[in-house]
Subunit: 418 residues, 2 copies
């Protein structure tokens, strides 16, 4: 009950702050982000010291090297967090934008005005930089934020949080603008996910199991993506040199990311001109190829793919390959196995390109480019709080604008309805 009370008090305080944040000036917000960036630099010794406690505990708990690498902070990494806050601050304030305006015959002026979402809850794993990134993005968009990081990073997050809160409040942001769940207890997340009166949106950041647990337990809307099983389809009318460069990049550039290619689809008419060389180049780069029967026959050193392969997000140097009999078969395969994240076609055929754009149900659909571009910075959004495969509200890379909603504002001079 004490925990329940504590979390509800935090959520309520955030809601109260969000009312004030909704009409605070851009200048005050900009001053606060600047002070937060300065604060991180000034207090970097304390932050790194707190991080050392987390690292020691993680080592005691025998966490993996990769885990500790993600958790670790040093002076350089704190400097990067500070720089990232300044980069967010350099973006235009999205709040107050008139998205659309029109006038009705009776003189009413109706606009859709961009407004903050209110209170955003972030549930993440053990990367301490998420703490400052998400606080910065949410505040810039006029939202109060409630942060809940992995319990293994609680010392680091608490140290960062204290710096950010002090800077924000000194700069005139209301108390409760930035909040951190101060306990490691997992029950705290369950309570947080029920605060439908106070929290407007939950964004989980982490692996698929974390995201599923959040979605299944939340009464609050959640924006997320589970995984990225991204396809590149090489059409019979593709420029084969371009097809090779684009698919090589999509697989090899950074295979651990959600926008990396996991499955290559090739039209049967060009398979024999394209695949043998492509497979050789991929194998040379260390990629394990799992192909359909036709691919196994056509290329050497290819393992037979199972149905499960097509449904797998490898996140490493493994690729499934399928030769399809038609464009329609490629569309069907993507509809069945795709994760609505990023899908690409390489083609010089106009109708095929347009139909691919229209029919493929995904947040990002590409013609003649690598799926690796699905990213807030690459899209020119300036920053990214996540990638969404949802259809309601925000899809694809989510930047500042996607941390807002709109309200209709109606200005009259006394109109009454007849």
């Amino acid at each position: 009950m004490a925990l329940q009370k504590e979390i509800v008090a935090i959520a309520k305080q955030a809601k109260d702050a969000s009312r004030q944040l909704s009409h605070i000036s851009s200048d005050v917000k900009a001053g606060a982000l600047e002070a937060m960036a300065d604060g991180l630099l000034k207090k970097k010794t304390q932050i790194v010291r707190a991080n050392k406690k987390d690292i020691a505990n993680a080592k005691k708990a025998k966490r993996s090297k990769a885990f500790i690498e993600r958790l670790m902070l040093n002076a350089l990494r704190v400097k990067k967090m500070s720089d990232d806050l300044r980069a967010i601050n350099a973006l235009n304030d999205p709040i107050g934008e008139m998205i659309k305006m029109w006038t009705r015959p009776n003189g009413l002026r109706i606009s859709k005005m961009r407004v903050p979402l209110g209170v955003v809850g972030i549930i993440y794993e053990s990367r301490p930089n998420v703490t400052s990134d998400c606080a910065g993005l949410c505040l810039k968009a006029g939202n109060a934020v409630i942060l809940r990081g992995g319990k293994e990073s609680l010392h680091s997050n608490t140290a960062i949080f204290k710096v950010l809160v002090e800077a924000a409040e000194k700069s005139g942001l209301p108390k409760g603008s930035i909040n951190l769940i101060p306990v490691a207890d997992r029950e705290a997340v369950q309570i947080m996910l029920k605060q439908i009166d106070y929290i407007d949106l939950i964004i989980p950041r982490g692996g698929e199991s974390l995201i599923r647990a959040v979605v299944e337990n939340s009464m609050i809307p959640v924006i997320k993506h589970y995984k990225g099983i991204c396809h590149t389809y090489i059409d019979e009318y593709a420029d084969l040199k371009m097809a090779e460069e684009v698919s090589f990049n999509a697989k090899v550039h950074r295979p651990s990311t959600c926008n990396a290619m996991e499955c290559l689809l090739v039209h049967k008419a060009i398979a024999k001109y394209f695949l043998p060389g492509m497979v050789r180049r991929l194998k040379k780069a260390g990629v394990e190829i799992r192909g359909c029967a036709k691919t196994v026959k056509l290329c050497s050193g290819v393992i037979a793919a199972t149905t499960e392969d097509y449904a797998t997000e490898y996140l490493e140097l493994i690729l499934s390959v399928k030769i399809v009999n038609s464009f329609q078969n490629a569309l069907d395969h993507i509809a069945k196995y795709g994760s609505q994240h990023s899908e690409a076609i390489v083609t010089n055929n106009f109708p095929n390109g347009i139909r691919f754009l229209k029919e493929v149900d995904a947040a990002c659909v590409y013609i003649n480019a690598s799926t690796r571009f699905t990213d807030g910075n690459e899209f020119g959004l300036g920053a990214e709080i996540g990638v969404s495969t949802d259809k309601l509200h925000a899809r694809g890379p989510m930047g500042l604008e996607e941390l807002t909603t709109y309200k209709y504002i109606i200005m009259g001079n006394g109109q009454i309805r007849k």
Copy 2:
């Protein structure tokens, strides 16, 4: 299990149809809606005959007069349904609109393209006209639709559904574009609300209890509003004549609607000049006034309001009135009791107007006009599938555009990520 299988088959068929609808031409859709409108006229005798069965059952079950009035169809009402389909059809096709376009330094052309949501499920009570309205709106926006009306209207809905499906399929729309849950069993709704792989959005239309039941049981995103507790705040800087006309209209024009005023807030500085006359006029129109202690003292014939009054959506000729000490108090009252639907201020003061617009958390915020304008037709959206108080995706009156989402489309000439 048989029911489970049947509902899943319908949902799957809808999803398959939605893939084809995503790239069907505007002409084919327009032809289908035209044929659907014609079909209703041609088959009006059969539709009215089916409706007579529902009416007979409703009378046997001793349903209220109001219930039977809503359920009843005659030739004129079927004609109105047909006209409404033509009105929807006259709107521009929203699909394919490029919401934003930009080019990146590397030559990538990125656009946000408007696309259908996919499959929309509508759960409604016993107004048979919702069947054709929602089918028309969803199809025009390129969505497949799954309709589930009240069990008391099943004969009527089935008759309307058959006419619509025949017309749509003859006009070239894929099988499964329009679907009706053909059984009265309530379990069918529970199964429908779990089809997260096939249904993209649920819109419940009806009373608060229906909506709460849907929200609590759905795994699919739901767009809705629970109720409308709309306030009109008369600022100390209001034009008092305008204030009287606007608030009288907001309360009396059609008190049973969600956009009618339920609570009048009056700044103390102008209360004695404004309220006595206002209360007299409202009482003359049959409105029962429940006021705060100050209002009771100031005006005659006012009942003392309880806290519960401020939290009540009357939907009839009852109004709560509160005199507030300051603009801030008015904002606090709305934040506490408002339903995020429609809120109005009457003022000639610029800063107060702007702060009200920015701070009040509602789908529609008015300056100097009646909240009764919150309506798809009054906003000029042409048609309305509902009003949403959600922040994620669509707020306020929802027309055709709000039955869509977007995807990013990225066109390159071979760009790879460096």
